[in-house]
């Protein structure tokens, strides 16, 4: 089951089919999706990139933290033309896609594949979505969440959501590496 392990965030996005996490902070997003993969296992992952994208040892460390050693299934899509058919090949499984728009082309086919099957999807994009705009339009039940470094750690900025208005959820950097308690503190009164 796709989950971030941040209970408050998971609550907000639980009814969305497609959730897109984006950031211009490469390291922050990278660590976050390694965490999400480990905590969501068993899980299917598509990695879009010619080189790099996944550090199996980092996933391994998260698997130890969350004591979850369930299977992680992977397919890599090395060029733009591989992306839509690779997504299709994952069938109706819930899916994590790392950097779907990496090649900055073939958008229509990629989006079409993402919307084709009614399974849940978490997308992680290395881009500034606020500037580049949403590709999905308002028809898809879809959230967009930005990760930004802040003075004390980082924050999730809920840029677009069907369930919630724009809010920011601050977090400590250390939380990224560990289990986060269920008690959301004062925030639970805000929504």
């Amino acid at each position: 089951m796709l989950t971030t392990g941040f209970p408050f965030l998971d609550e907000i996005i639980k009814r969305d089919d497609i959730v897109e996490f984006f950031s211009t902070d490469y390291d922050l997003l990278r660590i976050f999706y390694h965490r999400v993969i480990a905590i969501s296992a068993p899980v299917y992952v598509v990695v879009v990139s010619e080189r790099g994208g996944l550090d199996p040892y980092l996933i391994g460390r998260f698997q130890n933290v969350f004591d979850n050693h369930a299977e992680v299934y992977i397919r890599r899509a090395f060029k733009a033309e591989d992306v839509p058919i690779t997504i299709d090949s994952m069938g109706d499984n819930d899916l994590i896609v790392i950097d779907p728009y990496h090649h900055r082309k073939n958008y229509t086919k990629i989006v079409s594949s993402l919307r084709k099957v009614r399974s849940r999807k978490f997308l992680f994009s290395f881009m500034d979505r606020e500037r580049e705009g949403s590709i999905f339009g308002s028809h898809t039940s879809h959230s967009m969440i930005k990760l930004v470094k802040s003075a004390r750690g980082f924050k999730f900025v809920i840029a677009k959501s069907v369930t919630s208005r724009e809010i920011e959820i601050p977090s400590y950097l250390l939380d990224l590496y560990s289990k986060v308690s269920d008690d959301g503190g004062l925030l639970k009164y805000m929504v």
Binding site: L54, Y57, R76
Partner: protein, 88 residues
Amino acid sequence: MGRTQPSYTMAVNRELEKLERIIERLHSPTLSLLLERVKEKVRYTQSASYDELIDPYNLVYFTLIWALAEECEKWRSTYLTLIRSKEE
């Protein structure tokens, strides 16, 4: 060098650099010396663990233990030699 996973040697170097930064802040000549031993040995641990899937983090600390073990052995031998020469 893999296509997707990071270069193992570079990952090991990153862990070594982390260790080096921590040791620098501790200002301990003992640890600095130990670190030199670790650097000399770490590539051999890499070679030996080639077909296993060992986290670079664990590899570096294993090498540290190896360096410590050799240091202990060195002093053990020195001590025994000293004892023997005193007995004579």
